[in-house]
Amino acid sequence: MQRNYIHIALLMVFVLFLNSCKEEEYALPSPKSGLNNDVIKRSIGPNLAGQNLEFAYAMAIPDAEGKIVSARVEATIAGASGTYMEKRSFYTNSSGVDVGIQVADTAITEGNATVVNFTRDTCAATLRYFYKIPDEAKGKEVTFTFSATASNGKTATYKMGPYTVAKMDMALDLAVTNNANCYISIENMAVYNATDAALNADKIDLVYLYRNITGITFGHALMAPATSAEYLDGLVLPAGVSNDAQIKKVWALRDRHLARLQYGVYVDDMDFQKLSLEGSPNYALNLKAESGIWLETANKNYRAYVYVNAVNANGSARISIKRYLVN
């Protein structure tokens, strides 16, 4: 009996060895026949009007079957001025650097379509496509159809999307200075001096202030014109500037669009939709670089995120704004 067990065990080990010793010989993969294509989306984060949606469109056909003649991209909403397709095909070299080689004429964009016609005899190329998001696409969805045509008359197509375009707007690098260009309009996404602020009095939602007061920490501040005179600290507001707002201080919310730093964090429409500033004050003192504020205007028309890009001890700062129209 015991001997039988030993025999069975040996047999199993033998079978196991036979299995593991099977060697598969490497064979070069054979390319797909016909014209093939593929697309990846290179840009990340919310799709903002004025920003680019970037794609890399790859197309290839076996050398024996022909060459690529043209590539075309059609968007469901026409791109803004600045929409184009690269005339260079990119590959990544051994150092990880993208190298471009011209393969086509300059792209022609007409209406919703962008076309490039190849000038170099090529059977494989990767072209970048940059779709500049137009204002009219805000809150809508946009879809793209990529297609390539080969000299043998074959075509290949690839659909991408739909992508929802954010409703929010953005203004970058607004310079504010203490007691001068210190009146900020969220509606206009602009900074005014006292004279211009008086002309846009009903649209001024924020005042920038810098105070270096011994014994307290005041520093750089953003406040609604309607805040108490104590926090305005002697600043005389232009006639008619009296809007209120609700403000909440935030630290280290370094939105990538606004901060343009390495952090992959984005403020999106949904953040504004879910924002609740109930019970928040109408001022924020001691703001530092890379901090910010959430804000809602008194008429509840706008919600905004104001990011502080930089502050200077001489009483100036650089801010960037994302704004969401609620109503």
């Binding site: 920490t217 201080k249 935030v250 630290w251 019970g279 928040s280 003192l285």
Partner: protein, 151 residues
């Protein structure tokens, strides 16, 4: 000859059986031994009720809406008077603050802090009760806030 072989086989079988019985008994004893550690009861919050009677606040932090400290300096904790005194920066939004208590081991706080706390009524300071690990000692701590004065 055959009888002798049979006898040997039986003896081996009996010895094996005995060995298994002893091993099983030994494992059972070891298993019972590990189960003998004392089990502490738990309270309504699922926290262990231990034998510790110490009951005090060891540290206090106060964060603003941006989750940064609003203290100008360390909080002063008086474990005899059962008070916490904190000075906050000028212009601190007192309605939206997040207090954080550090307590002695096994103690707990009542009421629980589950979000922001409104400290704006400075005339009526907030009060929390620290409950010791054995849940038999309770001490009320009052948190006094003062705002950095503007010169």
């Amino acid at each position: 000859m055959e009888d002798k072989l049979m006898k040997n086989k039986n003896l081996k079988y009996i010895a094996m059986k005995k060995f298994l019985k002893i091993s099983f008994a030994l494992i059972l004893v070891l298993f019972t031994g590990t189960q003998c550690s004392k089990d502490f009861p738990v309270d309504g919050d699922g926290l262990l009720i231990t034998e510790r009677a110490e009951c005090y606040v060891s540290n206090f932090e106060l964060l603003g809406s941006d989750f940064q400290t609003v203290r100008t300096k360390n909080a002063v904790i008086d474990t005899t008077a059962q008070t916490v005194n904190v000075e906050v920066f000028y212009g601190t939004d007192l309605k939206n603050l997040y207090p954080q208590f550090s307590l002695v081991t096994d103690a707990k706080l009542d009421p629980k802090i589950i979000g922001k706390v409104d400290f704006s009524d400075l005339a009526t300071p907030k009060l929390w009760t620290v409950i010791s690990g054995n849940r038999k000692v309770k001490k009320d701590y009052t948190v006094y806030i003062t705002v950095q004065p503007k010169p």
